[in-house]
Amino acid sequence: MRRLLFLAQAEVLHILRDRVLLAQVLIVPIIQLLILSNAATFEIRNTPIWIVDFDRTSVSRGLVNHLAASGHFQIVDTTPSLDRANEALLAGTVTMVVVIPHDFEVSLTKTRAAPVELSVNAEKGSAAGIVQSYASRVLSEYASELALARRSSKSEGGRIDVRVRGRYNPTLNYKHYMVPGILVALVTMIGTLLSAQNIAREKELGTLEQLNVTPITRGQFIAAKLLPFWVLGLLELSLGLIVGKLVFGIPMRGSVPLLFGVASVYLAVALGIGLWISALVETQQQAMFVTFFIVNIYLLMSGLFTPIDSMAPWVRVASQINPVRHFVTISRAILVKGAGPAEIARPFSVLAVSAVVVLTIAVRQYRKRAV
């Protein structure tokens, strides 16, 4: 135990004397948080569209007004030229072309139905889907308004009024959803990368060999390496939470100590993976490479940027062993939904098991004597 403290003390001194590392830990993640939180959003606002209105009646103008008032679209042109609209779509200056046919009003009054064509730039599939769904919503709202107006004139009753209430995130603020997840990503990147570089660096410097001829045990060695980075990881999370609260006003509905409790276990996993990589490779460069590879897969499969429900079935199964996924889930549940220990028990148990497995492997992987 004393040995461990001496080594951990030296480790703290290494960290404190490495300015680049300190900047990497304290400044870079905050900048990333500020940028990513604004960049990683599914929300679409003011996307440029072109409305080709061949009808030019009060009904068709009503439709244009509804699209404009929704806030999602910015109508850049209403020139009734299909060719020019299509050119704009191809050039990428508009994301959608809305075509209102010339018999729009007539057909609506006669047959109670009228076609509207939505041409969406589907290059970016998910964005196209969102644009389309926003447009459809505006169109159907307008349609029901028109219907209502007609019905009331004919004194018709019985109408279903659907009212949607967004629970936990009533204003549907994407940042409240993204920031708790991005925090997890940052803690993971920094924790895994720093610990992965650590032993590799000592291999390069030759200082590891000097430690290997001492009677220090593998467990003591790994623990001494882990401890300072573990504290650093928790510090990182605190910093991120403060910025999240002050800058983005993220909710903290659940218990913050509970989040830190989970983070403590999660960091053991993230750092353990780093140390494991570190023991496998020979140079820092290799360590970085392997880390980026693994962390990227982890982040993409974590449900941070894309919902897990929409992933292929085998990916969904595979993501069960992804610690990032579970901590993202827990972080969002605690902060946004106010979940307590009972609600996070299942993902937490996966993290706890992972911590034990990963640390055991990291300790066993590290060899003092070459075979």
Binding site: R3, L13, R17, E209, V213, T214, P215, K368, R369, A370
Partner: protein
Amino acid sequence: MIESAIDVKDLTRTFGSFTAVDHISFEVHSGEVFGFLGANGAGKTTAMRMLIGLLTPSGGTARVAGHDVYTESEAVKRSIGYMSQRFSLYEDLTPRENIRLYGGIYGLTMPQIRERTGRMLTRLGLARVADEQVRSLPLGWRQKLAFSVALVHEPRIVFLDEPTSGVDPITRRQFWELIYEAASGGTTVLVTTHYMDEAEYCDRICIMVAGRIGAIGAPADLKKQFGVDSIDELFVRLARPETAVPESALPERLS
């Protein structure tokens, strides 16, 4: 009779089809300064790495400080100190911090660490730079510090792998004074070197040639036995038997 500090029989290490150390046997007595000589690639460092528990032997037996290197490598590590070819203390720590770290790892108490730090820094003339980061110190000073750190826990045996390579002649002399000091205190010293004059400072030497022991004994005895004037001459004769080839033939062979 005290048991020998190091006892090696048929120690072998292969890397694939290459045999780096080929059935070497020797004994190092307690309190002796034992020199390990050999050309680059002769197997000195490989042999040493097996003895200090950094490399698993492929065959043979070896006992260091009475402990088996296969089964008791941790006990071996408690009884030895090691200074590697490459400077391997932390450059971002100060001499004082490096001594404290290794003192702590070897289980010394804080008062012991404080006392030894003071004594070592004064002896090495490093008291003035005790709180400067090691990276700012010249190579010779670092090497002396590394040597002292290898001895911080007062081990029975200390292994020095080319400790004086790259340092100036004055520092080399000082270094050997430190080695003699340690030996007179009862520490067994096993040292590898490229410098043949240093071989003369050893009680006994062992010259390795292509993984085997070419000659072993006290420098004076070896010179008599092989009928040579210096260890340098002996070394060249053992290490390069082909020097019998006429000098005129050399340029051709090189081209």
